[in-house]
C-alpha cells in the first residue's frame, strides 16, 4: 500500500465517519490527503524535536542516538570518521505483533 492508496481508503471512510462539513465545504479527497499528511508530518516533527510518539497497539516511534565511530570504506578499506547522529526508530506494538502471527 502506498500513500495515495491510504488516502483513497481514508476518503472512502468519510461517508461512515464524517457528519459535519469541514470549514471550507464538502469533504473531498483533498481533505483525506490533509488528514494523512498531517498525521505523518506530525510524527516526523515530533521526532525532529526529540519527542516520542506512542500509538498503543500499533507501535512507538522514538529517536536513537548513535555515538561517533570509525567506519570503513568497504571498497578501499580506508577508515572514515562517522560523527554521532540521531536516527528514527520504530518498535512494533504488542497487538500488531500478535496479529502478524495470527494470535
Amino acid at each position: 500500500m502506498i500513500r495515495s492508496e491510504l488516502i483513497q481508503k481514508v476518503y472512502d471512510d468519510f461517508d461512515r465517519l464524517i457528519a459535519t462539513e469541514p470549514g471550507d465545504g464538502r469533504p473531498t479527497q483533498a481533505h483525506a490527503e490533509r488528514v494523512v499528511n498531517t498525521i505523518f508530518s506530525e510524527i516526523t516533527e515530533a521526532l525532529a524535536s526529540g519527542n516520542r510518539v506512542e500509538l498503543r497497539g500499533f507501535g512507538a516511534f522514538s529517536v536513537k542516538h548513535r555515538d561517533s565511530r570509525t567506519g570503513r570504506n568497504p571498497r578501499t578499506g580506508e577508515s572514515v570518521p562517522v560523527s554521532e547522529k540521531s536516527v528514527p526508530f520504530f518498535k512494533t506494538g504488542k497487538l500488531l505483533r500478535d496479529r502478524l502471527n495470527d494470535k
Binding site: M1, T20, R34, T38, I39, S49, G59, V87, P88, R97
Partner: protein, 100 residues
C-alpha cells in the same frame, strides 16, 4: 531538546486543527489510518509512505535461543516481524533536529 510523548490524542488534535473536522471525527480518522496500515501489514503487504518510510513484514526462521540468565536452550518458533525503514527525508529531518 524536549522529552514529551505524543499519543493518538495529539495526532487527533493536529488533524482537527489542520483539516477543520470535529475532535471525535479526527480521532476516528487517526484510528482508521492506523487500522488500514495494520490490515495491509497483516495481509503481508508492505506500506510505503513517500517521504516518511516503509513498513514491511519479514519472516523469521525458527532457531534455538538461550535464556541469558540461566543459559537454558529455548526453542524460538518461526515468526513474522515488522520492520520500519525511515526515508532519507525523515532521517535527515530527525538528524538535523537533534543536533546539539
Amino acid at each position: 531538546m524536549s522529552d514529551k510523548t505524543l499519543t493518538r490524542m495529539e495526532l487527533s488534535e493536529a488533524v482537527c486543527r489542520e483539516v477543520g473536522l470535529s475532535k471525535i471525527e479526527s480521532a476516528q480518522l487517526v484510528e482508521a489510518v492506523l487500522q488500514h496500515m495494520s490490515d495491509a501489514l497483516v495481509a503481508g503487504e508492505p506500506v510505503k509512505i513517500s517521504s516518511f518510510g516503509t513498513f514491511s513484514v519479514r519472516d523469521k526462521n525458527a532457531r534455538v535461543g538461550r535464556n541469558p540468565k540461566t543459559g537454558d536452550e529455548v526453542p524460538i518458533e518461526p515468526r513474522r516481524v515488522l520492520s520500519f525503514r525511515p526515508s532519507h527525508l525523515m532521517k535527515d529531518r530527525v538528524a538535523k533536529g537533534n543536533q546539539d
